[in-house]
């Protein structure tokens, strides 16, 4: 059965995020993902609070990266969280965002290797081993926890074919950063390639599609809320991905320049309906149901509704819980 996840960006006060978290659990969501960005509230403090205010929902960072947080500390954080919410914790880990890392003076070197090595270290630490690891990016010399831990499922955040295949080879799950059926279909093929290479079964990997999502009864309001995240997605898109969706590469360049200049009006004004369709799941509940159903054909096993969710977050969670999820949970 399809699982539903929801993502929150902890840019608001913790008590607001917790209100939404409680609402999401009551509404039947299976997974809670909290983003990890240095300029918002801390992901693990937020998850710790969420673990206290929930009883059933599976939760984890969506996604952290090994460049900002050393994998030993990531293992420590999720292990501690697992003590607070036993059996409900997962770890989402990816390469991170190059621009964000540059802001804090951290270089993104060998992202594929870094993610692979960090997962090996995290797993070793969670297995209670004394981890001595000599990788190309990370090294440890007998790192070991002084408390009891256990294995926690790892989801690899991925967009490119190599990272997607890696997720298929080694992840308990993959978080595919895409919204459009064309992109998701190609991504799932890469994941399956990795699964086959490793001789695993497809049911061993939870294939989650992590979307920019916006729902409202009024399509104009849903679209307006989707414009800011879509502008950032378009600005960071490789040209071949834009071309796949028939989007003018120079338009994306204009948006990028406007965002760099903090000219939000110009950036958001340049976002077209084609961009919204390519890089978000957006519309009325009926339109969102249709898009989720399309995505399901690619073989995904989890749909994650990510930021912005809608013009009004509380109303968006209500629409998701009462109108969208029931269409898929029979």
């Amino acid at each position: 059965m399809l699982k539903f996840g929801i993502e929150f960006v902890p840019r608001e006060a913790y008590w607001k995020i917790m209100h939404y978290v409680i609402q999401a659990e009551k509404g039947g969501f299976n997974n809670l993902w909290i983003t990890d960005h240095f300029n918002n509230r801390n992901v693990y403090a937020t998850l710790a609070a969420a673990s206290i205010y929930t009883e059933r929902i599976t939760l984890g960072p969506g996604v952290t990266n090994p460049f900002m947080v050393n994998p030993v500390l990531t293992a420590q954080a999720v292990a501690t969280l697992d003590e607070m919410a036993p059996g409900r914790v997962v770890l989402g880990i990816g390469a991170g965002d190059r621009t964000t890392l540059e802001t804090v003076g951290v270089a993104m070197e060998k992202p594929l290797t870094a993610v692979q090595e960090s997962i090996a270290i995290v797993r070793g630490m969670l297995n209670g081993e004394s981890v001595s690891f000599q990788g190309q990016v990370f090294k440890t010399a007998g790192a070991k926890f002084l408390f009891k831990t256990r294995r926690i499922p790892v989801y690899v955040g991925a967009q490119g074919p190599k990272m997607l295949a890696l997720a298929g080879r080694i992840g308990e799950g993959v978080l595919i950063n895409a919204c459009n059926p064309k992109d998701v279909e190609l991504a799932v093929q890469s994941v399956k390639q990795g699964i086959n290479e490793a001789g695993r079964r497809q049911e061993d990997v939870d294939i989650a599609v992590y979307t920019a999502f916006s729902v409202h009864q009024d399509i104009k309001k849903a679209t307006k809320a989707a414009v800011p995240p879509v502008s950032f997605i378009v600005a960071g898109c490789p040209p071949e991905l834009l071309q796949r969706h028939g989007i003018d590469v120079s338009k994306a360049g204009e948006i990028r320049e406007a965002l760099k200049a903090n000219d939000w009006g110009r950036a958001f004004g340049a976002v077209t309906p084609e961009m919204i369709s390519a890089f978000s799941v957006c519309g009325t509940p009926a339109m969102c149901i249709e898009r989720v159903a399309e995505l399901l054909k690619s073989g995904i096993t989890q749909f994650v509704a990510g930021s912005p969710l809608g013009a009004n977050v509380r109303e968006a969670i209500r629409l998701l819980s009462h109108e969208i999820l029931p269409s898929f949970k029979t």
Partner: protein
């Protein structure tokens, strides 16, 4: 202000709509820093237990509304024809 006493003045039929409007008001405020931590915990605890529509829940929502968005809270009470609550809160607000 005694918010429990204020909530006690509410008729059962008014609780749902007032609770809904106050929750929206609290979640969309920009004055996050005005929420006392103990009040935030009570707000979340009552929400967990589905008790924001009860009298104790409404007492917490009224207090949060007055602390975070006093003018908008008064407008909400006025819109819902809750003049008694509106005037009692007005009396207590600093001039």
């Amino acid at each position: 202000m005694d918010y429990d006493a204020l909530a006690a003045l509410l008729d059962e039929s008014q609780c749902q709509s007032l609770s809904d409007k106050l929750v929206d008001l609290i979640l969309t405020t920009k004055n996050d820093e005005k929420m006392p931590s103990a009040l935030a915990r009570r707000f979340l605890h009552l929400w967990q237990q589905n008790r924001l529509v009860t009298k104790p829940g409404l007492a917490v929502l009224l207090e949060a509304g007055v602390r975070l968005e006093p003018e908008k809270t008064l407008t909400t009470l006025s819109e819902l024809n809750l003049g008694i609550l509106e005037s009692k809160i007005k009396e207590d607000l600093p001039k």
